[in-house]
């Protein structure tokens, strides 16, 4: 049941209606029932895997809470703190090992199983390749990250452990976010999911508008741009120069409209029942640097990595010792930056690996990590160049230059994640920078005709205009709400009709799958 299918809209209409019809105290049961139904409908018995993750992290959190409450008359405050930290670390490590173990085994089965076969082969045994029977549970990356985040938050005493398993399961399985995020924090959602929300006309209306906007981005923009992208990437040896650049630029458009469209639908459904899910995108293509881009793109994955990987690593004792040693050799600046640089590199390798098991994803992570680390190390040099040229970093033309530069870097980096393999990506990049010979197909010969391209251009201009308004600090839906009634309804009807007429549908009116569903 895709987020942009007719079935899904019938399902969420029934869900929203039921949610508000049931007494407030029991509304969380509607959420849990809908989430379990949604999961089993889409993934069948793999729901058991989600249950194992939910149960293991639920009990781990209870154990951690018990450790938090330990008191002692014999130990000093410092000794007691150290003892508790040691015990909590063991619990967090065991729960992480189990749950990340599932995730890594399933994501990396193509590497792990041949490795196991080779290993048992040394001892003269044979092992069947059972990788095809290991299926990826829907949203495993998202619910695993959320659940591990929860136990770490309990161990940091940021939230209290949930005592009711069904309440906790409502958080882990919450269906709008299970498919492709955002990756939420338990502390942000607990009350919103469990306490029950009153009906608020404006909030529900805004939620429904967000769903329509997300469907527009996915069906009118992403799935149309995808046709060009698929043509270019499937036949890349035939193309050079301009045609490949077209493929890359259309991919930048496709992946943003696809992923942010899916998140809009998720946030819209949640908002319709009064649950506020974290923002996952903040106009990423207006970023002025690669680090700024990662503060605006897939924000919840970035902030998860920052809070649970980057800070713990960069502030860890081994990294601190390393920093002190290198300060003596390379000086204060490099020594101080070393923990940041190493942690950043590890974060980007994890972000790369999170996307898949092929080497191309690690290359993708390293590519971004390199630009961010380069930015840190060369910050002083860039500042000197700006000072010499008398350029202020608030200057409009300079900001536009930075935006275009960042877009270029990010778009080139996407070759690694989209191409079939690392070597294909390298060969495509080489061909991108070669001159375009005559006989290359024109814009309208890549699968989308002139009419389709006009629709795509207009839809992209609408997306751009909305982004400019949001970047200027206005909320588009609040502006629409201030318009006279006829204008509002013209906008609503135009939005829905444009999706029905100009959306890209396959057989049986099914749309293409969301890109981030497979992660």
């Amino acid at each position: 049941m895709s987020f942009v299918s007719f079935k899904f809209y019938v399902f969420i209409a029934a869900f929203i209606l039921l949610y508000y019809l049931i007494p407030k105290k029991y509304r969380w049961i509607t959420i849990l029932s809908a989430s379990v139904f949604f999961y089993i409908f889409n993934a069948g018995s793999l729901f058991l895997m989600l249950l194992i993750t939910a149960a293991s992290t639920f009990f781990a959190a209870l154990r951690i809470e018990k450790i938090n409450g330990i008191t002692s008359d014999t130990l000093t405050k410092k000794e007691l703190k150290a003892k508790k930290t040691r015990k909590k670390r063991t619990v967090v490590a065991l729960a992480s090992l189990l749950n990340f173990g599932f995730l890594v085994t399933l994501k990396y089965k193509r590497l792990i199983i041949p490795g196991m076969q080779a290993l048992v082969g040394i001892f003269g045994f044979e092992m069947k390749d059972f990788s095809s029977s290991l299926l990826m549970p829907l949203g495993i990356s998202f619910y695993t990250f959320q659940s591990i985040g929860y136990i770490v938050d309990v161990s940091r005493a940021e939230v209290k452990a949930q005592k009711n398993f069904l309440h906790y399961l409502t958080f882990v399985s919450f269906f709008p976010q299970i498919v492709q995020g955002p990756i939420s924090r338990y502390g942000d959602l607990e009350k919103q999911l469990i306490d029950g929300n009153d009906f608020d006309y404006r909030r529900t209306k805004f939620g429904l508008q967000l769903i329509v906007w997300g469907a527009f981005k996915k069906l009118v923009i992403a799935d149309r741009a995808a046709i060009v992208v698929n043509t270019v990437f499937a036949n890349y040896p035939e193309y050079t120069g301009k045609t490949l650049w077209l493929g890359l630029i259309f991919y930048a458009l496709q992946i943003y409209a696809d992923f942010s469209g899916g998140i809009d639908v998720a946030r819209g459904v949640a908002q319709a029942i009064g649950v506020n899910l974290e923002e996952n995108f903040r106009r990423p293509y207006f970023a002025t640097s690669v680090s700024d881009f990662w503060r605006r793109w897939h924000i919840t994955l970035g902030s998860w990595c920052r809070d649970y990987v980057f800070y713990p690593l960069s502030l860890s004792k081994p990294f601190g010792k390393l920093s002190k040693k290198t300060r003596k050799i390379f000086g204060n600046y490099i020594g101080k930056q070393l923990p940041v640089i190493l942690s950043q590199l590890i974060v980007f390798i994890i972000i790369g690996m999170w996307h898949g098991s092929e080497f191309k994803y690690i290359a993708f992570g390293l590519y971004h990590g390199t630009f961010i680390i380069g930015g840190i190390l060369l910050d002083g040099v860039f500042k000197k160049i700006r000072d010499t040229l008398h350029i202020k970093d608030t200057n409009f033309a300079y900001r536009v230059f930075c935006i275009i530069r960042t877009f270029f870097i990010v778009t080139v980096g996407r070759v690694f994640s989209r191409a079939g393999s690392f070597l294909t990506a390298v060969s495509m990049l080489g061909a991108c920078f070669s001159p375009t010979p005559t006989g290359q197909p024109g814009l309208y010969e890549l699968g989308v005709d002139e009419k389709g391209m006009t629709v795509l251009l207009i839809a992209t201009l609408i997306l751009f205009a909305v982004s400019v308004i949001q970047e200027s600090g206005y909320e588009v839906r609040a502006l629409i709400a201030k318009c006279p009634l006829p204008v509002r309804w013209i906008l609503y009807i135009a939005g829905i009709v444009s999706i029905l007429i100009y959306g890209v549908y396959g057989k049986g009116l099914e749309s293409g799958a969301f890109i981030y569903m497979r992660y």
Binding site: D307, F310, Y311, S314, L315, G320, S323, K336, Q337, I376
Partner: protein, 76 residues
């Protein structure tokens, strides 16, 4: 407090730390600044700021950071 203000000003000379009260909420300090700042504070004050102390309310102003240091000193 003066020592802390000196560390902060060395880190980011462009910020008015005496009056700024939303260093994190307004994204004035990024995660790289935070790690550098904590390394300096740990060295100068002999405390150990850990990831569990990294809450916005502990880092939004120089006063808040100073209170955190005092709290950790008392725990030592």
């Amino acid at each position: 407090m003066d020592e802390l203000l000196e560390i902060l000003t060395n880190l980011r000379p462009d910020v008015d730390f005496e009056n700024e009260t939303s260093l994190i909420d307004s994204e004035i300090l990024d995660s790289f600044d935070i790690v550098s700042l904590i390394t300096d504070i740990n060295d100068a004050f002999g405390v150990e700021i850990t990831p569990r102390d990294l809450k916005p309310e502990n880092f939004n102003s120089a006063d808040a950071i100073y209170s955190l240091i005092r709290r950790l000193e008392e725990e030592e």
